[in-house]
């Protein structure tokens, strides 16, 4: 068809027919594409849903722990070899750790010594896992002893002598090689110590850097270099910060390995760009009219920033800081390099002592062979995720509450 010809009804009809011929196919393609887009979003969100369901289903049982009722003979001699304090058929049902701790009765409850009493003892992890349905003791692969144990557990349960109680120890104990005794306490303390140092280190330096770049810096090569550098630092793989911490802080400056100080310094450097970038955005959001008004009143550059610009941008700065700290709180890789995955049964008491943090504790437990650690790892993840979601939610709220449109 001659496309340059004058429009006639015949030509119009032919053109319309050509458009119609392709139209169905094009609409089908449009529908398909729409479907792919919806599907992608649904897929991404269902990953999230699957992840949380998976973690909750694996981890929720760790918040309960089996306890067993036993007769305890607190005779003096039994408190040295505590296995004798309970009946022999309970030895594989009661936790080794609980038996070990019976020794402390002499110091903590001296009035009990020499008496006999009924106590709710922590059950062994095998018992606990069997009761939670995580471990099979009655199947074809199990030994005769295991089957017998299962029968005794069932009998005790029928008698009401085994109960599930809230797992207080999970929050108050440190790490332990005895699964039922292990808890998050030392990791939580370690995380708090490290985060305090990270904050102390990155917040002032980050805010100062941002103030300099945004309010004072002349536009020269050095300033541009600092800016490019900060953008790149924000994208450097976190493990490289670990190499830096190892080579500079530990090997060169002699900061103790595994200490909260080494962790705080390393994570502080890592958080620095996040704080700088968000602080700069917050400073930039303050309109220049505010600055000009302050200059007009005779404020110097520094007074203008300190008394007028900084207070106005504080919500934004704090939002960015919380997000940065939350990121640091979930970070593991650089901490592995500086040795913060050590076995820490007792909470650290200072910044120079060996410490571990929540994600490192999760990593350690994830590598343990016992079934009981799987649920504790997942439960640790739930705790960590709750803290992180809480932090991020508060950052969002802070931003919403103080958001100001100029």
């Amino acid at each position: 068809m001659d496309m340059t010809a004058e429009m006639t009804p015949e030509r119009r009809a032919e053109l319309d027919a050509r458009v119609q011929r392709k139209l169905k196919k094009r609409y089908r393609a449009a529908k398909r594409f729409h479907f792919y887009c919806v599907g992608s979003l649904v897929l991404a969100i269902s990953f999230l849903a699957f992840f949380f369901t998976d973690m909750i289903s694996k981890g929720h049982s760790a918040f309960q722990q089996a306890h067993v009722q036993v007769d305890v003979d607190y005779a003096e001699k039994n408190l040295r070899f505590t296995k004798r304090a309970i009946a022999e058929d309970m030895h594989d049902i009661v936790s080794r750790g609980w038996l070990r701790d019976l020794r402390r009765v002499k110091k903590e409850n001296p009035e009990l010594v020499g008496t006999k009493a009924v106590a709710w003892a922590l059950a062994d992890d095998e018992v606990d896992q069997y009761l939670k349905g995580n471990k099979d003791l009655t199947g074809d692969d199990n030994t005769v002893e295991q089957k017998a144990l299962a029968a005794r557990i069932d009998a005790l349960k029928a008698d009401g002598k085994i109960k599930m109680k809230f797992n207080v120890g999970f929050f108050t104990n440190g790490d332990s090689k005895i699964p039922e005794m292990s808890g998050l306490w030392s990791a939580m303390v370690g995380s708090i110590l490290v985060m305090v140092l990270t904050l102390l280190f990155s917040f002032p330096i980050g805010v100062m850097t941002a103030i300099y770049l945004e309010e004072f810096a002349p536009d020269n090569r050095l300033t541009q270099l600092i800016e490019i550098n900060i953008n790149n630092l924000a994208a450097v793989p976190s493990i490289l910060f670990g190499l830096l911490g190892l080579a500079i802080f530990i090997n060169f400056f002699g900061v103790p390995r595994s200490s909260a100080l080494a962790g705080g310094l390393t994570l502080g450097l890592m958080t620095l760009p996040v704080i700088i970038i968000s602080t700069r955005a917050a400073l930039r959001a303050v309109p220049d009219t505010i600055r000009q008004a302050a200059y007009g009143m005779g404020c110097t550059e520094w007074r203008t920033v300190r008394d007028h610009v900084l207070p106005l941008s504080m919500p934004g700065i704090l939002t960015g800081t919380i997000i940065g700290i939350a990121q640091a709180m979930g970070e593991t890789a650089p901490l592995l390099i500086i040795g913060m995955m050590a076995y820490i049964p007792e909470a650290p008491e200072g910044f120079l002592q060996a410490a571990t943090v929540l994600p490192a504790q999760i990593f350690t437990w994830a590598g343990m062979p016992e079934r009981a650690y799987v649920e504790r790892t997942a439960a640790g993840i739930l705790v960590l995720m709750s803290v992180l979601i809480l932090m991020n939610a508060s950052a969002v709220l802070l931003r919403k509450k103080f958001e100001r449109r100029w």
Binding site: M3, M7, R12, L15, R18, V19, K22, L23
Partner: protein, 270 residues
């Protein structure tokens, strides 16, 4: 009463011909949410004529223009009533295929918006997608013809592979016009096509509009009264969503029937 109300030069104004009606709009009402943006517009666009839509900002002239190719469908919360008939077809019929409609009614926008593709691909994209032409010489001919009709051929003939975004503003707008005609429309809608251009490019575009009116029915929104006087045979004056007056351009500019039209044309508000 014959008086030249404004310093508007009417010497170039095309004489309105007694052409057949191309698009007949009857009682068109449009709401953005609660806002009644078009109030009972009744207006006929004559075939192969330029109709200028004038009026102060926010008067509904662009909204009305966008009804003619259903571009308002894009905006959420828009409700339209009334009828816009093109031949036997009601353009407001919700069952109407808008893709098909837009091959009949082309549009050129305020800001030149060439695609980030080559000049050739800018023109050939839509005709190929619609299946109007096949790749090869048929398509080449169409591209050449469209660019020629848009008066751009001499400037770009040797660089059809260059990017369309590299052209000057006026050239970009003519490219957009060429792109619109390549789809073989009968009606061209132009939304302030020269407002983002310099005076020389504006003059070129205005000449082009006059030429194109031989083969296309054109509706042009403009805030430039002189431009309306120069290119349009008919002029419609919109005010606050109402169509105040619609007549041939000479009549509107020299002898408006309404006080408000006169005020606007003499520059009492705008």
């Amino acid at each position: 009463m014959t008086m030249n109300l404004a310093a508007t030069d009417l010497s170039k104004t095309p004489t309105a011909k007694e052409s057949p009606v191309k698009i007949a709009c009857t009682d068109v009402n449009l709401w953005y949410g609660d806002k009644h943006a078009l109030k009972g517009i009744t207006l006929d666009l004559k075939q192969n004529e330029v109709t200028a839509l004038i009026g102060p900002s926010g008067c509904g002239k662009s909204t009305f223009l966008r009804c003619l190719n259903r571009m308002n469908d894009q905006i959420k919360g828009v409700r339209i009533e009334g009828s816009i008939m093109m031949g036997e077809t009601d353009l407001l019929d919700p069952k109407l295929d808008v893709v098909n409609l837009r091959t009949h009614v082309g549009m050129v926008f305020q800001k030149p918006n060439p695609f980030p593709k080559s000049i050739y691909d800018n023109i050939s994209y839509a005709p190929l997608m619609h299946g109007l032409v096949k790749k090869g010489s048929e398509c080449d001919d169409l591209v050449e013809d469209s660019i020629k009709k848009a008066g751009l051929w001499d400037e770009v003939a040797d660089r059809l592979d260059a990017s369309g975004t590299g052209l000057s503003g006026g050239q970009q707008q003519r490219l957009c016009i060429a792109r619109a005609i390549a789809v073989q429309p009968e009606v061209l809608l132009m939304d302030e096509p020269a407002s983002a251009l310099d005076p020389i490019s504006t003059a070129t575009i205005e000449d082009l509009i006059q030429e194109l009116s031989d083969s296309y029915t054109i509706a042009i929104v403009t805030h430039n009264l002189q431009q309306a006087a120069r290119v349009a045979g008919y002029t419609a004056f919109f005010y606050m969503g109402d169509l105040i007056e619609y007549d041939n351009t000479g009549q509107i500019f020299t002898n408006p029937g309404q006080k408000r039209t006169e005020d606007y044309i003499t520059g009492r508000y705008g």
